[in-house]
Symmetry: C2
Subunit: 345 residues, 2 copies
Amino acid sequence: MSRPTVNDIAREAGVSLATVDRVLNARPGVRAKTVSAVQDAVARLGYVRDMAAANLARQRRYRMVAALPDGDSQFVETLAEALTEAAQSAVTARMELEITRYPAEDAHALAALLGRMAPQDVAGVAVMAPETPVLRDAIRGLKSKGIPVIALASDLPSTERDHFVGIDSRAAGRTAAVLMGRFAGAASGQILAVAQSMQLRDAIERRRGFDEVMLADFPGLEVLPTLETHGSDATLRAVVTEALRHARDVRGIYLLGAGHRALAATLADLGLTGRFVVIGHELTPHTRRALLAGHIDAIITQNLGHLARSTLRVLRAKADHAPIDEAQEQLRVEIVLRENLPPDQ
Amino acid sequence: MSRPTVNDIAREAGVSLATVDRVLNARPGVRAKTVSAVQDAVARLGYVRDMAAANLARQRRYRMVAALPDGDSQFVETLAEALTEAAQSAVTARMELEITRYPAEDAHALAALLGRMAPQDVAGVAVMAPETPVLRDAIRGLKSKGIPVIALASDLPSTERDHFVGIDSRAAGRTAAVLMGRFAGAASGQILAVAQSMQLRDAIERRRGFDEVMLADFPGLEVLPTLETHGSDATLRAVVTEALRHARDVRGIYLLGAGHRALAATLADLGLTGRFVVIGHELTPHTRRALLAGHIDAIITQNLGHLARSTLRVLRAKADHAPIDEAQEQLRVEIVLRENLPPDQ
DNA sequence: AGATTTATGAGGTACGCACCTCATTTCGCG
DNA sequence: CGCGAAATGAGGTGCGTACCTCATAAATCT
């Protein structure tokens, strides 16, 4: 009736509790034959370890670290908040999460930070950073110490990261494109693409997905070369103003990265508010307000709460050398309009 | 350093462990002054009960029941699957979920089912059913026995249900409307609305939200009176064919309930596939295929995995008389297009 | 003040599991 | 066959909490 316990397994397998324990925890000193006898009993009874009791007994604490770039990015702030919140409900699972900031763009500082970590006090690390050779080496160093590493929000595929938690940027770009094409509702015209920098993997991937769909499904709409703002509002204003002067039939603006506020201000000053379909990424307080104000038509985003919880689950699984339920960790590409904007908090 | 335990509380409050236990578990026989002394200590030390250990010791099992309508609804099937899956990972939390089916449309059968439940073997009930006086009484009965009840997917606001788990149908309808209006991309025309029955609260609410947005933002588009199919494919075919004959400028079809397959077949037979914007609700294997095939342009849905997990969390909280984290239980109105269709499973 | 009720303390057992020690059995091998 | 090594058993302790009993202390009433 009730769930079988280790004692039931011992009885069923005809061995002692000590042996069951040795097998379950992969401790040495058990003959192969005995191991399989125990495993058979486990399978037969459908035993599942009571993780709560196991953790209680194990008395182990998991100190995880998340390394996020410093700076004033709303996305990073929102992500940090989500992580903090997720960490709170993870205390019951004996997990703690320390959120560390490193100077953005400073790969060496990040590498130094990661280099200082020791397996005895860090059970796993989540890193959000652009891919650089320096970081690649730092991650290799962590791995060689036996510390699991996962990439957060932005993937690091060429490194030895154990996992990536975040959405597929290309799929996000494709989704943005469908909405752009259908909302624009025009057979022809031009689309402005604006990004912080086309060096960032996310922006590249989004643009790629965007182009794929635009070319295939909305061939009449021409997506102009990506304008780069380098994180400066002034630059954004300048390049967008310039682009709008030249391109006379612009139907939409695709914001691959940040800059929603600067764009809204620029369009307002040009008296063009509401004239284009504007589609952006990531739901933050800024983009939320922009959606409500009608300055943005749609936001393609991921649920940061899920992302945060997934991060902790994956870190934990990696620390325990346990398998990951890929299906559960799959994050959806979400579409947010004013009408389905989730309530704040 | 580590989390404080009940022993720390006892020491801090200057009382014995037994008294701390009495206070924490709201057992009688403690003076008000002592109670607050303990509570102060809890607050001072920031004690949080180790739920894992508590449940282990409590040795309590939570048997929950979900009552779903019988029949061949894909939505109900998918929901049942999600509940089953969520229940599997809830065994660690000592919860079991029994999914019971009752004859759809038979409020008395459901009421009888609920009436048989006793507090000693049922810790909480989730009900998905239309609101009827019979059900209202049955829920009142459960509540008087001390069994918490929550409404699943479809709300029962006029009953004494403890909670509703599901999305706001009106918001879902509003979202459908924005997409319809923008995808249709026409200043004028007509929209067909098709529902199983306009007796169902969900359909009414969706239609209300849909109308609100259409009237306000797309005044040129006229939403025709809802066609009712009563769950019959033949009826759907008949009423839609008839409606399309009369209305000459139809731009879109809004499916408030089930019937995606019948609609696709009907449109195919009329040679009208792809001529209208089709928007529906709830992601199921059927609607997934329809999206992929291009028979549907968008699906407004809720994440059934979240719904299922939320259901269990809320039931548990209610059974424990614990507070609910409203923010976490908030389900989002999700928009699914072909491009952001989540991978199957 | 004495009797009675009410609060509190002390201490134990259990939950399912991890992890330890030490004795005993079984195995492999020369 | 005998020996050392490897495998296994028996039994204990502790994790943080619930819940129980019984004794004792304190408050309350007459």
